[in-house]
């Protein structure tokens, strides 16, 4: 690492105050150069250091605001009506307010990952020591932390080195959050610039978290052949005691598995998980079983299968304790960020807590000691399971039908459903004994149970849905490739050229949450479509799980069919939410490992490279959270477009290009210094698609880049045209904007396209060495 704390450690000290043992403290920083790459212009950038680059992007991709509320209610001046051209009492405009809310969301997301990373690093240092080396890929990886190197200009080598990176991230998020205070930043574009900064910081913190846990816990190290693990309700052996973990921070789950291992119980208990903790524990041990994305929480708890629930942090239903109480399942909260109102029993003996759970005198505990949690969870599950009567609600089909008969067809359930599912009709049919419609609804249900909240008859609608779909639930047993972590340098070298030249048509990253508009199958279908088209398909988190919960006619999941290599036609599960940093990291490494651009503290140049040359697109089809907002923001600052599903318009603004504004689509040709029209590539930076079909066409289009060779552009156009014809029903109307020279035209469609070009008055242009940075132009001119 380039800079390092001075650490002083005193084992034992006699003072007038008494005896001090194991005192450690750090003072100042000293430069310790072991990385010879010259420092770039923006190491540890402040919140405005990259403002110029942001404004370059925002000039092309202007915000289109879609307020989710007409008012501002953030201070006691308010509520302020911001409709029309009214300003709030503080002077803020509606567009400023929307950017402000987007920044708040991005800050929440970045703070969440940063706090997670801090908690993880602190825990791992306490367990393994601060000198534990960072090793996310063994000999396969030289650039171990591309985001950290790029943003901070340092090369972390040990767990302890990550603390300085987190100090920086925390400071930045603090400043960004302060910018949202009343009477601070109000200019929409400056607020948007800060959104991009929050996103960049988010990727740094995600990288910290994942390389720390990969290194310390020996998770798969950039392994394309990471184990195939079980996913799905049906994969659980319900004859055994069952532990459920929910959340994102894996140490308690690791301790559960370690305790089982140490006590020869590994085969005796089922350790199951929901959300990213599940992904990460399956990286730690292939014996762990994943139930599914966040939307599976209610249905799994209500199944009565888990004997104990351990929650850590993020995306956990805040009513998890209420639901667990109904099933008489004890709950352990393990994070200071999610105490659930439970008594702090961190210092109580394990025996006492287990006894209280067994005799029912306690239904939950807050325990800030992962090792103790591991012991208590295992012992409780072992002791409680033989006696606990697992009871799902309703208990039988007949009971469910009786419940359905209470329905008055008021339709409030449908009017509460985010996907406008036809619940009243389905309940009516179910009451007549026909479960078909309700079972169909299961396929699109996101498990939010807003329907139940709205029901005036207190019908447990979600439970009826899972009852009607019981056969489907039992049948949920698939294989998922455990998260492999980073991308190897050798893989980057192999695909870097074809990607930059456009001969691999693109990298498509399916990421984010499970708030799908039409069920998870759509996501799997998209991933398969692009893997078959020989794009590189990456995935992570809930999206990675969803892709795995699909099987073909032969009963195989996509992970059993497509390789896990970062190569054309691969489906690459990098891991959990925090593993998204490996996807941005891969794009960054194309610039450094393949193209030999200096990485160190050199954000703008690398982002310019990625934006103009790396045909990557993120797809967050079910994006729900603030973390999804900050993850997307980090991709935007690298110039990588992100597509969201229709619910994504609720993020309040898009970043849209105008293909009809020719003046927006000029770049500098680094070879000649000339400004060259390159067409709208990529056309948008943040865009919502209405349907899966539209998203697929968008993906193909947004993979085009100014640097594509003619061969590469012809290939990308072939996919774009083919998908547009198949799904939209006709030739796209904007082909003329993407053809630069005659050689770009796909050979099989030459006559037809030439006719279109002629009608549009198309003129040939040149293929530049593209950059949006004026400095790049002058530096590279002869």
């Amino acid at each position: 690492m380039g800079t390092k704390d001075i650490n002083i450690s005193i084992k034992e000290l006699e003072t007038e105050l008494g005896q001090i043992r194991d005192l450690k403290f750090s003072v100042g920083r000293l430069v310790q150069e072991s990385w010879t790459e010259p420092q770039g212009p923006t190491p540890f950038p402040s919140i405005t250091a990259l403002r110029g680059w942001d404004m370059t992007l925002l000039k092309r991709y202007r915000p289109f605001y879609m307020p989710f509320c007409d008012l501002c209610c953030l201070c006691t001046f308010g509520k302020c009506d911001l409709t029309g051209d009214k300003k709030g009492a503080c002077g803020i405009t509606m567009s400023g307010q929307q950017s402000r809310i987007v920044l708040l969301a991005a800050c929440i997301g970045a703070a969440t990952h940063t706090s997670h990373a801090r908690e993880l690093v602190t825990h791992l240092i306490s367990e393994f020591g601060e000198d534990e080396p960072l090793d996310p890929g063994g000999l396969s990886i030289e650039v171990e932390a591309p985001n950290i190197r790029l943003v901070c200009g340092v090369k972390p080598e040990t767990l302890g080195d990550l603390e300085q990176v987190l100090d920086y991230a925390e400071e930045q998020i603090n400043a960004l959050l302060a910018s949202t205070h009343t009477g601070q930043e109000g200019n929409p574009l400056d607020l948007e610039s800060k959104v991009l900064h929050a996103g960049m910081i988010d990727h740094v913190s995600m990288e910290v978290a994942d390389i720390a846990q990969i290194s310390a816990y020996r998770l798969p190290k950039a392994d394309p052949e990471a184990a195939l693990v079980d996913i799905g309700f049906g994969a659980v052996d319900t004859e055994k005691p069952v532990i459920l973990v929910i959340g994102h921070n894996v140490p308690p789950a690791v301790e559960i598995m370690d305790f089982m291992q140490d006590n020869d119980l590994a085969g005796d208990i089922e350790v199951t998980g929901i959300c990213c903790t599940a992904i990460d524990m399956s990286r730690y041990s292939p014996r762990a079983k994943i139930i599914g994305p966040i939307s599976w929480q209610i249905r799994y708890i209500r199944s009565g299968i888990p004997d104990i629930i351990v929650v850590d942090e993020q995306c956990i239903r805040t009513d998890v304790l209420d639901e667990a109480r109904l099933q008489k399942i004890p709950v352990i909260a393990t994070s200071e960020k999610n105490c659930l109102g439970l008594p702090d029993r961190t210092r109580d003996p394990a025996d006492a807590i287990v006894a209280d759970f067994i005799n029912g005198s306690a239904d939950g505990a807050f325990i800030l000691d992962p090792e103790k949690v591991g012991e208590i969870a295992v012992r409780t599950a072992m002791q409680i399971a033989p006696h606990r009567k697992r009871q799902k609600v309703p208990r039988s089909l007949e009971e469910g039908i009786e419940e359905a008969k209470k329905c008055t067809q008021c339709r409030l359930c449908r009017r509460a459903c985010p996907n406008d599912l036809h619940i009243p009709d389905a309940i009516k049919a179910f009451a007549r004994g026909d479960p078909g419609m309700l079972s169909d609804i299961y396929d699109s249900c996101v498990g939010c149970i807003r329907c139940e909240q709205a029901c005036q008859q207190d019908i447990k609608i979600h439970s009826l849905i899972t009852l009607a779909a019981e056969g489907k639930l039992r049948d949920e047993s698939f294989k998922l490739r455990a998260g492999r972590g980073a991308i190897q340098d050798i893989e980057i070298r192999q695909v870097g050229g074809p990607i930059v030249l456009g001969e691999i048509p693109g990298i498509v990253a399916f990421v984010g949450c499970a708030n799908y508009p039409g069920g998870g199958q759509e996501l799997a279908e998209m991933a398969i479509e692009f893997a078959n088209r020989r794009y590189i398909v990456c995935t992570s988190g809930c999206a990675a799980m969803t892709i795995g919960m699909y099987r073909n006619e032969d009963g195989k999941s996509p992970y059993e069919i497509y390789p896990g290599n970062f190569e054309a036609g691969g489906i690459v599960n990098v891991g959990s939410c925090v593993s998204n940093a490996h996807i941005s990291g891969a794009a960054i490494k194309i610039a450094s490992v393949f193209a030999r651009r200096n990485l160190r503290g050199n954000y703008q140049e690398i982002a310019d490279y990625v934006h103009n040359r790396v045909g990557a697109v993120g797809v967050a089809w079910g994006a729900m959270s603030q973390k999804a907002a900050s993850i997307a923001s980090g991709f935007w600052r690298l110039g990588i477009p992100v597509i969201v599903g229709p619910h994504g318009t609720k993020y309040r603004r898009m970043l849209l290009g105008r293909s009809d504004h020719e003046e927006d689509w000029y770049v500098y040709d680094a070879r000649t210094g000339e400004e060259v029209y390159v067409g709208p590539v990529p056309e948008h930076l943040f865009v919502a698609a209405e349907t899966k079909e539209e998203a697929m066409v968008m993906i193909a289009k947004l993979c085009m880049r100014p640097n594509d060779t003619s061969r590469g552009r012809a290939l990308k156009l072939t996919h774009y045209i083919d998908l547009h014809r198949r799904l939209i029903g006709a030739m796209p109307g904007d082909i003329h904007r993407f053809v630069r020279t005659g050689a770009d035209i796909p050979i099989t469609m030459k006559e037809e396209i030439l006719r279109i070009l002629d009608e549009k008055g198309w003129k040939e242009t040149v293929i530049p060495d593209p950059t949006l940075i004026a400095r790049q132009k002058t530096e590279q001119q002869p």
Binding site: F64, D420, A454, H684, A730
Partner: protein, 178 residues
Amino acid sequence: MSPESWLTAEVAGPKKASVITKPEIADAMIKRAKRPVLVVGNIATEIDLEDRKLIDYLIDLAKRCQIKVVATAHTNAAFLERDFAPDAVMSAVDIANRLADPDWKGVDGEGAHDLAIFVGLPYQMAWTILSGLKHFAPHLKTISLDNVYQPNARWSFSNISIKDWIMNLKSIIGNQET
């Protein structure tokens, strides 16, 4: 006939849509518009109205009123199956972004649109998009022709039955016959 958002929680702010209580209102707005545009989302291909789909009614409306049509998502394919070619194919947020620009020359390049009629988009997507236009396109009037109340449109039906919806659509189309 209550002007409540179809999705109960998607409440309106201080500025909310006037209710189209009778088809003559929509009819008058369309007649008065110099450059109307009809934005049709994919749900128009799914909804059955008697023995036809919603999209069939919309084709009738577009033909008889000579309204320019923008097909969002994959709706274009359903139009083409019916031998009707929309004037433009673009995403819902893309057309909204252009409509918010008073200098945009419209789908035919002949001038800004003064009325945008939305129908067939997912409810919440239409809600947010119409909010964008409500706030940032003061030069544009908007109508929602879905059978659910869209508070961010300038004019919208309330939450009406399929039967009333059909009656209204037929009336609007009929009134527009020349």
